[in-house]
Amino acid sequence: MSEETRQVDELTGTATTGHEWDGLRELNTPLPRWWLWTFYASIVFAVGYWFVYPAWPLINGATQGAFSWHSRAAVETDLAALHSQRAPMMAKLTAASLAQIVDNPELLDFARAEGRVAFADNCAPCHGAGGGGTKGYPNLNDDDWLWGGKLEQIEQTIRYGARAGSDKGHQGNMPPFAGALKPNEISSVANFVRSFSGLPLEQGTDLVLGKKVFADNCAVCHGPEGKGNQELGAPNLTDKIWLYGSDKDVVVDGIVHGRGGVMPTWEGRLNDPTIKALTVYVWSFGGGAK
């Protein structure tokens, strides 16, 4: 550095570092020295991490660190602590019957909290985050139940599913009538079914034919008055709730091609207290029957 660049900036009275770029000089406003030592100390401190924690990549893995600390093991420890913390309540949940759970406010709270999480993990993809359902997937908040809304019935449906291959699960389905019924018969019976809940009829509908077709083909499962049968999972056709929709085209589609939605079986995939908690949670949406 040349002699003439060593100088003090006239404007500020501050010394410069002597470095110059195109006539610009850098003022030297020094940091306190303790800052420097703190900086060095933190570098030295950081070296400790190399030895305490897993740090250096090797060909098959990495160095394990002095205490063999592992993030997965830490999670497992936390989970174990959580399980042991919940164990007394889980034991109560396992021991109590569904009716007892619902009658005990403390157990009901616990089951609802447990059920909320299990529902979000397992049920929400089809039934919606709050059990609101969608076309083909029942709304669990209303009072219309395909297989029954009592606690035991809900548990049965969750545990063994419907049409999912389990011997203990619900089996019945809506058969297709494409070959068995003529188009005008299908149209008439669709109108007749819609009339149960007061929906408007098409012009020139032959209700007498519809009623006859219904009595011959549908009443076996849906009942003579269309009230349905929960033993068979045959929906009540007289209420205002339609799983697939109430438009005539949709009803005709169901008659022609049949219906048979699948509820998976959860026995073996979820443990006993979780299924119980789910049952209580679904029941407590508000539509469950006593």
């Binding site: 609101g132 209303d142 709730i241 539509g287």
Partner: protein, 515 residues
């Protein structure tokens, strides 16, 4: 021969400011150090503040005793809240999520009181600054208070400025080492008790003291005592003015916030300059020439805890503690000259005096009025809400999926999660009503009705309870897409009411289906 910066510094300790100021002086005198020797990191210059006495010293002692007294002893003050409640006047109960302050109990959802306190603290700081600059820094800042205490211990053990400096530069004897050891021991004891008092705010103090002494206290208590012992010892014992100069943001903010009417510790150079000895002053005055009152005794510099020369004017280092005023006043009294050569004043006034005009003080200004107004509004709001808040509360969360359901008979139903707060220390039964729907039924899911058929929610003392509530609307008329409804929580015994507004949703079109 070139003179290195190191040599310059070693030969003559730099005056107030930094090594840099000295380098500048050298550079201006034509002595220029070689480039490579320009220090990029400035070593700390040890400050030996001299003791003094006077008005501001007395104020500082009073503030020190009061604030530290409160800090160390407050956890032991008892306050009876009845059974099953802590009897500590000031307690931050993290496990139970409660903050107790004498008769006030704050729940986590009332954390806006903390926001209010922070607003009051910030605006209070601004108001102090608008009136008299950095008086917070000089008198009330914990860094200042603890450093002041540590200075006092240091002077008690190692002697006042002169004695202490001499001992440090002379060969260290066993007695010197003993003094140093005693000082650090006392410092550590104060620091340790500072950390110890801190943890007492988070648990029942007498119990925790016993547990700490018998080694039964939780590890976290010991850890926090250790951390705060370390920070107190380091910050008040070793870092001192470095905290104010390098670490604290307030001097920077303060410099941007202040105005020319705020009182500052000011050297009245109209009276002080030119500086000259008593004899010289007499000679000059005898000749009818001007002589200042400042005798350049450096007492103001020697007593300064941050090593500032106040006669250089306002600076970042000045925390405005007023000790230089005391020191200067003592000298002026001895000389029989008027006191307050250094005083809380403004530069405007100094210049007015030079011009022979009357000085003025303008404490009532737009900014002081605005700050006072903000403090009054924020403080008033807090007091009002504290005085009128109920001991019960209700919050309502509407189901998000589904927003509403159709029942088989066509009725419309909405689901809610209701959380009921009971801040009293007794069990209370609540009834909930929903107003705003012509004909509706409400049902708490899973809540068995009492003998009279009513569904009452029983909430335990000092607790909250969450219940699921479904509201079914049976009205014949077409439902609105959204109806405003009022949830009323009523204590069945006392009739106290808390309210919360929410909505009852229906389909966008009157004949819409369930979804």
């Amino acid at each position: 021969m070139t003179i290195s910066a190191e040599m310059v510094l070693r030969e003559k300790p730099a005056p107030a400011g930094s090594a840099l100021a000295h380098l500048v002086a050298q550079a201006e005198a034509g002595v220029r150090p070689p480039d490579d020797d320009i220090p990029l990191y400035a070593p700390r210059r040890k400050i030996y503040p001299q003791s003094t006495h006077g008005v501001f010293r007395r104020i500082k002692w009073a503030v020190l005793f009061v604030t530290l007294g409160i800090y160390y002893l407050l956890p032991f003050v008892r306050w009876d809240r009845g059974p099953n409640a802590p009897s500590q006047a000031v307690l931050i109960d993290f496990p139970a999520r409660r903050f107790y302050f004498f008769f006030i109990e704050i729940w986590p959802q009332e954390v806006y009181y903390l926001t209010g306190l922070l607003i009051l603290a910030a605006i209070g700081l601004f108001l102090m600054n608008a009136i008299a600059g950095r008086i917070w820094c000089g008198y009330l800042c914990p860094q200042t208070v603890w450093t002041d205490l540590f200075f006092a211990v240091e002077r008690f053990v190692e002697g006042d400025r002169r004695e202490h400096m001499l001992r440090d530069v002379r060969k260290w004897t066993a007695a010197t080492w003993a003094r140093k050891g005693t000082k650090h021991f006392l410092w550590l004891m104060i620091a340790w008790w500072t950390g110890g008092a801190w943890v007492l705010y988070f648990a029942d103090a007498p119990t925790l003291v016993r547990d700490l002494a018998t080694l039964h206290a939780p590890l976290i208590a010991y850890a926090w005592i250790g951390i705060l012992t370390f920070t107190t010892y380091t910050l008040a014992g070793h870092m001192r003015e470095q905290v104010c100069l390098y670490m604290c943001p307030w001097p920077r903010i303060q410099a941007a916030l202040t105005d020319e009417y705020a009182l500052n510790v000011t050297y009245r150079y109209d009276r002080g300059e030119p500086r000259c000895s008593v004899k010289k002053a007499e000679q000059l005055r005898a000749q009818g020439e001007r002589a200042g009152d400042c005798v350049d005794c450096l007492q103001c510099v020697h007593v300064c805890p941050t090593g500032v020369d106040i006669r250089d004017g306002a600076s970042l280092g000045c925390i405005q503690c007023g000790l230089c005023i005391d020191a200067c006043d003592n000298v002026m009294k001895k000389l029989g000259r008027p006191t307050r050569l250094i005083a809380y004043d403004t530069d405007i006034n100094v210049r007015l005096r030079i011009e022979g005009k009357r000085p003025f003080y303008r404490l009532v200004r737009m900014r002081t009025l605005l700050y006072a107004a903000v403090i009054a509004i924020a403080g008033g709001t807090m007091i009002y809400t504290l005085a009128t808040r109920g001991s019960e509360g209700i919050s309502v969360i509407h189901d998000r999926n589904p927003m509403f359901v159709r029942l088989s008979d066509g009725a419309l139903r909405n689901g809610y999660i209701i959380r009921i707060v009971n801040k009293e220390l007794r069990h209370r039964d609540f009834i909930v009503s929903v107003d705003g729907l012509p004909s509706s039924l409400i049902d708490f899911v899973g809540l068995p009705p009492r003998s009279d058929g009513r569904q009452l929610v029983d909430v335990g003392p000092d607790q909250t309870k969450e219940v699921r509530l479904v509201v079914t609307d049976y009205s014949e008329s077409a439902p609105a897409p959204s109806t405003s409804v009022l949830f009323k929580l009523i204590d069945v015994d006392t009739g106290e009411v808390a309210e919360m507004r929410d909505h009852f949703f229906g389909p966008q079109t009157p004949n819409g289906a369930g979804q």
